[in-house]
Amino acid sequence: MANKKISKKDIGKLLNQWGQQFAVFTPSREDGVAKMARWEGKDTGFLGWYWNTVVPPKANFLPPMEEMFRFQKDKEGYRIELPPDGGRQLIFGIRPCDARAMKIIDANFKELYQDPYYLNKRKSALLVGLGCTNPGESCFCTSMGVSPAESSDVDLMLTDIGDELLIEPVSAAGKELITKSRGLKAANKTDEAKAKEVKKASYNKVSRKLNTEGIADRLLASFDDQDFWEKVAAKCISCGICTLLCPTCYCFDINDELTRQQGTRFRSWDSCGFPVYTKMPMENPRAEKWKRVRQKVCHKYEFYPMSLDVIACTGCGRCIRLCPVNWDITQVLNSVPAKTKVGK
C-alpha cells in the first residue's frame, strides 16, 4: 500500500474520526504531567513536543492501579464480578522507543504466560507511532536497536515532514485503518524523500551512547563484585521512579480491599528497588540497596537477554531524566568492569 500524508492542521479532524471507533489517546499535559490522555478534540500541541511523555504508554495496558475483580459472600458462597471491558484503544503519537517497549512486555505477558488483563487491552489496541525529530539529551535509543523516527512495532508510523505528516502503514490493522480513514492524501516522491531525510537526521542527533556489546557477559562476570555495585548504588535513594516509569518494567503487587462480606482485588505497579519488594511470601532476598540496584540492572541487561533474547531497555531515557539524583544507567553500564577481580 502506498504511503499517505495529512496536513498537521487536519490531525484534530482525523482523531475525531477515529474517536468514533476507538478510545483515542494522545500525549497531553492537561493532567499536570505529560502522559497519554483521552483525546478531547482540542490540543494537538504534542506534535511539536521536544521530549516524550513522563508516564509511558504502558500505563494504558498495565495501569498504575487496576481492579481485577470484586467478590461478595452470600448464602450460596462467593460471587465474583469482573470489571467491564474498556473498549478498543488507539494510542496516537507513541514514540518508537515506547512501541518497542510494548513488544518487550509482550514477551512476558503474551509469550511466557498469558496475562488476560494486559492482553485484553493490548490485543484490541492500535498504535500510531510518531517519530522524533529532535531526540532528547537523555535518549540513547540508537544504542538499543531503536531508531527515533522508524518503527516496525506500530500499526501506522508518522513522520514530521514540515507542515504535513507522512503516514506509513506498518501492520494489516494499520492498512485497514488507512483505507477507512477520510481526508488523507497520497504521498509523493518529494514527501518520501523529506521523510527519509528527517529519519536520518533524527538518528544522527542521538548523542548518548551505550556500549551493549557483551553486556550480559560483563554483568554476569561482575555479579559478585560487591565493591563495584556498592559504589554504583551509593547515591541511589531506592525510590521507584526509574522502574515504575520505565516503559518495559511490568512488576506488580496484588492487594485485596476487604469489608465484612465483600472485597475488591487490585493490582498496582511495584518496583524491585523497594526494600519491601516480595515481602508478601516472606522476605526480600535483596535487603541491601546495592543488591536491589544490581537486580534492576541485571534483569534488564543480563537476565532478559539470556532468557528472552532481548534487552529490556529501549533507551527512552526516562530513568536518567527523571531520577532525583541523576543516577545514569548509561554511565553505570559503560563502567561495568570488562573482567572482574572477584574469584580470579
Partner: protein, 315 residues
C-alpha cells in the same frame, strides 16, 4: 568558593579527618549536578558549587559508616542539625562544609520562561541577581527571582546554621513574599474547593515514594505505608490513600522539615507537595514557636515531652 571546597575536601581526606566526602559533582545532563559520595581524595577535584546543586545531601548521612565531610546549603545544614537532635548522626563524626547559598535554579521555571524544554537550551548563566538563558543563539535576561525554586525564594536562612568551614561570606535571606502566594491562595479556598484541589493533584501520584526517599527527615527504618498488619494505608495509588500517605508523612516530619523543597522537586508527576510541607512548617512555627534544625542542642519538637507542657488529660 569551589576551589576552596576542593582543597578543604582533599585535605580532610588526606589528613584522615574524615572517611567520606559527600558533595556535588557535575551531572550527566545539562544544568544538573549529582551527589558525589567518595573516599578517594582525587575525587575532590570533581566537586562543584553552582546554581544547580539541588539535592539535600543530609539524606545520605543515614546509613553511612565513619566520619563524613558533608557539603551543605542553608536548608541542608538544618536537616543535618535535625538529624543530630534526633541522635541519627553524631556531631563529632561530621565536618560540615557550609555554602552560603544564594538560591538554586528551578529548571521547570526556566522552561516556562524560555518556552522550551531544558534539553533545548544552550546555556543558563547566573550573574548576581540576573540570569541569562541562551537558546537558538539568542540571549534573554531575567531577574533571578523568576527562576529560583519557591523554597529558595522563601528561604530565611540561606547561610548554614551549623558548620565547621564556611566557604564564603554569609548571604542575606531572600524571604520573598512571592514564594508564599500559592500557599496563601490555598488557605483562602473553601474547604470543599481545597479538597477538590488535592483530589486532582494527588490522583497523579504513582507511589514511587521519591518524596519520602529524598527527605532527610523521613528516616524511619520501616515506613507506615509499608506496614501490612495493620495496613494503615492501601498500597495502590488511589487518591484518597495517596492523601493519607502525604498527610501522615507531613505530621511525621513536623518539626524536622526545613522546607528544603526536595519532595516537590523529586516528584516525577509534579504534585505541589511543598504546599503541604510549607503549610506544616508554618503551623509548627505558629503553634510551637519552633523552627527545625536551628540548634543542635535543642530538644526535637515532637519526640520530647515535658510535664508542664502537657494537656490536662495527658498528665
Amino acid at each position: 568558593m569551589e576551589q576552596r571546597l576542593r582543597s578543604e575536601a582533599r585535605a580532610l581526606l588526606e589528613q584522615g579527618k574524615v572517611d567520606w566526602i559527600i558533595g556535588f559533582e557535575p551531572g550527566s545532563l545539562k544544568f544538573t549536578t549529582t551527589p558525589l559520595i567518595t573516599k578517594d581524595k582525587n575525587d575532590a577535584e570533581r566537586l562543584v558549587i553552582n546554581p544547580f546543586i539541588v539535592n539535600n545531601l543530609a539524606n545520605f548521612l543515614i546509613g553511612i559508616k565513619g566520619r563524613v565531610g558533608i557539603v551543605v546549603k542553608g536548608c541542608d545544614s538544618r536537616s543535618v542539625v535535625s538529624l543530630i537532635q534526633d541522635n541519627k548522626v553524631a556531631r563529632e563524626n561530621l565536618v560540615i562544609l557550609g555554602i552560603p547559598c544564594t538560591g538554586v535554579i528551578d529548571l521547570s521555571k526556566v522552561e516556562k520562561l524560555a518556552g522550551k524544554d531544558r534539553g533545548e537550551l544552550d546555556d543558563i548563566t547566573r550573574e548576581g541577581e540576573r540570569v541569562t538563558i541562551k537558546t537558538d543563539g539568542k540571549k534573554k535576561e531575567f531577574p533571578i527571582t523568576q527562576v529560583l525554586f519557591d523554597h529558595c525564594l522563601a528561604c530565611e536562612f540561606p547561610t548554614p546554621k551549623e558548620y565547621d568551614i564556611l566557604l564564603g561570606e554569609p548571604s542575606p535571606p531572600l524571604a520573598n513574599p512571592v514564594a508564599q502566594e500559592r500557599i496563601e491562595k490555598l488557605r483562602q479556598l473553601a474547604p470543599e474547593q481545597r479538597w477538590g484541589f488535592w483530589e486532582k493533584e494527588l490522583s497523579r501520584c504513582i507511589r514511587c515514594y521519591a518524596c519520602r526517599n529524598v527527605c532527610p527527615a523521613c528516616f524511619c527504618q520501616r515506613c507506615f505505608v509499608e506496614e501490612t498488619e495493620p495496613q494503615w494505608v492501601f498500597p495502590a495509588p488511589r487518591w484518597q490513600d495517596n492523601l493519607i500517605f502525604q498527610i501522615t508523612r507531613n505530621i511525621h516530619v513536623a518539626g524536622r522539615c526545613t522546607d528544603c523543597g526536595e519532595c516537590e522537586r523529586a516528584c516525577p508527576v509534579n504534585i505541589p507537595l511543598r504546599s503541604l510541607t510549607r503549610e506544616m512548617y508554618d503551623i509548627v512555627g505558629e503553634l510551637f514557636q519552633f523552627k527545625a534544625g536551628m540548634d543542635k542542642d535543642a530538644t526535637p519538637l515532637l519526640t520530647h515531652y515535658e510535664e508542664k507542657e502537657a494537656e490536662e488529660f495527658f498528665r
